[in-house]
Symmetry: C2
Subunit: 240 residues, 2 copies
Amino acid sequence: MTNPTSAMIVIGDEILSGRTRDSNMHHLAQELTKVGIDLKEVRMVSDDPHAIEGAVRALSAAYTHVFTSGGIGPTHDDITADCVARAFGRAIAVRDDARAILQAHYDRMGTELNEARLRMARIPEGAKLIDNPVSAAPGFIIENVHVMAGVPTVFETMVASVLPTLVGGKPLLSQSLRVFRGEGDIAGPLGELATDFPDLSIGSYPFQKDGVYGAQIVIRGQDGTQVDAAMTRLCAVFGE
Amino acid sequence: MTNPTSAMIVIGDEILSGRTRDSNMHHLAQELTKVGIDLKEVRMVSDDPHAIEGAVRALSAAYTHVFTSGGIGPTHDDITADCVARAFGRAIAVRDDARAILQAHYDRMGTELNEARLRMARIPEGAKLIDNPVSAAPGFIIENVHVMAGVPTVFETMVASVLPTLVGGKPLLSQSLRVFRGEGDIAGPLGELATDFPDLSIGSYPFQKDGVYGAQIVIRGQDGTQVDAAMTRLCAVFGE
């Protein structure tokens, strides 16, 4: 059985200009790995309608699930909802259930639900809302695309509420071994191991710190018995 | 004058599985902003030949410069050089100048230049080498694609040697103001400001920390006089 595939779109000029360091990609990658959904591709695009629409269309067609991060707030540069609606040829307007969620939230806070805040109730036709217990403004799901906030605390909460609703695959198991030799010495035996275990992914990640160098060898796969067997052989070759 | 555009490809299963948190994208984004080259798109792809080739072809055709990170080491999972060669229909083989660089490096270290290490001297036909003062194995430039290492220290050194050779644009200037109000209150005036200064990019980045909330408003543009004028108006509206 192969795992469901997925892709992510990180939206925002602030990421591409280097002003903000994205953390949502790394968080989602870890969470997807736990539930056995393979993250195959990530695209980071600017606040540009064509870039966002193009990425949504391309990735939605290519993968089982797509997750987006960013651009669903109340300000003029928050254009993700409109772009996603356009990518699927759907109308978009303020929706009553989303408005009610915002109204209740701002009533509680004694804040006015003004025109700008109401933008966050604009939801593409036929979309399903994603709960936002942090700051109320919902994300939404349309076709296979999950549209979520860019603020990390909100993004992470939305991921937590979305992932249990998706059918995962077998979680990827991994084992690793630190080998204190240069990658050039490891490469030969490692290549043979990779050939003998074609269902496993075997990676070598060099490190160099405080005068010590070597590589972290990581063996990943869905079949625990195979991962064990490969690790046993790896230890026989490189273990002390 | 518009700035040169660019894209980045981050290559590696370890990034997409969440095992490793990429830092090269954020570093490159900051460096490109300094020299006035706009980073328009980033793609993170797995160690899959089709994914790498496809991204190289698509981004090379769409942007002035492309930068890649990862997959040029000595182990079996380092397939970037081959994929880039294939993307451009070029032959790839061990090249004498690259071999000489490695030979000198390993001689100095008293290490054998074995078959695995020699893989790092495989360079696509017609490519120009990128110097690697950290660990010798060179990157390379083919057409408009700069192929660099994934290890952050090496990547950063390669970026430092490559960027001065590229024609940059006007560096993006930015000024920012922290406003301690909800984005929903800021959105209206901010949208008007964005309309009145169409050449500037005006972003709003909400924060919420230790019970205090608000948004960081960032005004970016190439024309310092315009950035100043917009910031003066912003302060008149939101400054204390």
